[in-house]
Symmetry: C2
Subunit: 337 residues, 2 copies
DNA sequence: CAATACCGTGAGAGCGCTCTCACGCCCTCA
DNA sequence: TGAGGGCGTGAGAGCGCTCTCACGGTATTG
């Protein structure tokens, strides 16, 4: 293994260029108060020596690290393939390219790690925090805000938190969009498989469902609850079929549950979309490959990540950010409805 | 917004405890050369003041940042849902919990960003680098090794690089496993859809396929090439059917191509597995939901990430690491073969 | 009992950088 | 011609921490 040769420092460069450390620093930081000749000379020496500023030293004096934390709260390896998470991570990372800001991934699954997270942030290793997803009763956002740490969360918290900036997608609008699609297709006995009542995304989608039905002048339909998993979707669909054998459409609050519903419907001998139309939510990869391909609602994940990142950087810059941002969703028409 | 109250420093704590800065430092770093009384006192003051050491200051003098970079080279938003990537990220992050080491995600898509990556690492912001996936002709590993940066890469490079530590899964063994499954099922005209010839994972799987056939005493079967995408799998399958209408089995070098093959086979009126048995590779989420569910090869992604992380930490610790590690794969039996 | 060892502690020198301040220079203006 | 005002530059004081070194005190040894 190559020996770590001593990295050149500011002083090395200054000495080689015959100027002071301050001048080199000015060149590096693009200060206008440097003569063109000095700048050229220093630039040349820097290239020659392969000098790279030491980030630790810089952030020690600047009180700035130029990196932000993306905090994930999904717990274990079972969610490994969670496409939403993956998208958020990649999209955030991409939103950061060109800004010179680095992304630090932080896993904070349990409470102990939440504690450490606060310390971690206060230790000055990051300038701000992105919380990937809000969970009910999560004290983290408030802790961070109270500590004066720039923070942006993804998804609306279950109750308002003053000073909290969040970026959500329009779940109410999405649920409404999905249900309206079913109404427009002439369905009149539209049921729904809702998500866990303790998640705002789930309750918002249900609200959208109710709203669309009301606007269409239809009576409230059957509601069954799932846990956003395929098997819970299968069960909920069975329950729905049991309670309302004549239903002709289902809006599932996410695609995995829709996939489960599709299975139950097939097992029950119902044809999709002929007998029962199905609309999902999320537009996961799998939605393209089901039989029939799933009509669903697409969330603006990339845009959400980008918006969150932008808001955070603005906040870090010390500027005021507006309130929460809610991004519109989109209907993806396929074959199941 | 709360004012960032002045964080207490070592001096603050020392003054409050009536000891010297050095003693506080010793307590924090768990030095044995501190009297129990002093330690208790300092611990109490630290808790009282909510003191957290400043990481920048620490790493400035220690030349250690306690964070590592995970470098991704998947380019754009189209691979957003790449489950392999997501798994690697999450698994790495999990492998790091409890070590006190932080994960910095770095996107290095194009060459310009590769350049900057080297600088970035030399700027001392990370202690080592994990390269998520090897691409052919990638100069990065050599650059890093030459710079003396601890590095571990995922996947075998296309040609040996001296001093490079990599962790691969046994693609040859996996390809063999898949093909043997087909042989064991009594298939005698086994074709394969191989991946891009410039990726070692693809060529290794093909090698495994050939080896299994040779061991079984069967003649070499038809080989068509895809690009690891579903549509390329569809095309390759059509090509295969064209060249050998009587084939009774296909080994696809990844699941996405297997899904494509399934489509083409269905369109061609072939029943799976009755007429044609299909085995995929990767065991992606989707493999559970195809019709029929896909028999496939599972890679030890979590273990791979964990191993890579461990090897890197050992290297960072200055200890010698053994050579490359190759992890075994596993057959997942479902309905397509 | 003197010599030696060790142990807990404090003083202080940096780590590599930024940034304020002061200084000399040239240019402008009255 | 002298006062004033930039403008480019250098000196030097830290940022918060670790770590070496020296020192007094107690325990151990011949």
């Amino acid at each position: 293994m190559t020996e770590h040769r001593q990295q050149p420092t500011l002083d090395t460069v200054a000495a080689a260029a015959g100027v002071s450390r301050a001048t080199v620093s000015r060149v590096i930081n693009g200060s206008p108060r440097v003569s063109p000749e000095a700048k050229d000379l220093v630039d040349r020496i820097i290239a020659e020596l392969g000098y790279v500023p030491n980030r630790a030293a810089r952030s020690l004096v600047k009180r700035r690290t130029d990196s932000i934390a993306l905090v994930l709260r999904e717990p274990d390896a079972t969610v490994l393939a969670d496409p939403y998470l993956a998208s958020i991570i990649i999209a955030t990372s991409q939103a950061l390219t060109g800004t010179g800001v680095q992304l630090v991934l932080v896993n904070a699954q349990n409470d102990a790690e939440h504690e450490r997270l606060a310390d971690y942030v206060r230790s000055g290793h990051v300038d701000g925090v992105l919380l990937a997803s809000m969970h009910a009763d999560d004290p983290l956002p408030q802790v961070l805000i109270r500590a004066g740490v720039p923070t942006v969360v993804g998804g609306r918290p279950d109750r308002p938190i003053s000073g909290l900036v969040y970026v959500d997608s329009d779940n109410v609008g999405g649920g409404q969009l999905a249900t309206e699609r079913l109404v427009a297709a002439g369905r009149t006995r539209i049921a729904t498989i809702a998500g866990p009542p303790d998640m705002t995304a789930a309750t918002d989608r249900l609200t959208g469902y109710h709203r669309a039905l009301a606007r269409a002048g239809q009576a409230a339909g059957q509601v069954a609850y799932g846990r956003f998993t395929r098997t819970s979707g299968e069960q909920a669909m069975a329950e729905l079929l049991d309670r309302a054998a004549d239903l002709d459409a289902v809006f599932a609050a996410n695609d995995m549950m829709a996939v489960g519903a599709l299975r139950t419907l097939r097992a029950a001998g119902r044809r999709v979309p002929d007998d029962v139309a199905v609309v999902g939510y999320d537009d996961i990869e799998l939605a393209q490959h089901t039989e029939p391909a799933l009509t669903t609602i697409r969330q603006p994940i990339v845009e959400q990540a980008r918006t969150m990142t932008e808001l955070l950087l603005i906040q870090i810059g010390g500027h005021p950010t507006g309130g929460p941002v809610v991004l519109p969703t989109e209907l993806v028409e396929r074959d199941s409805a």
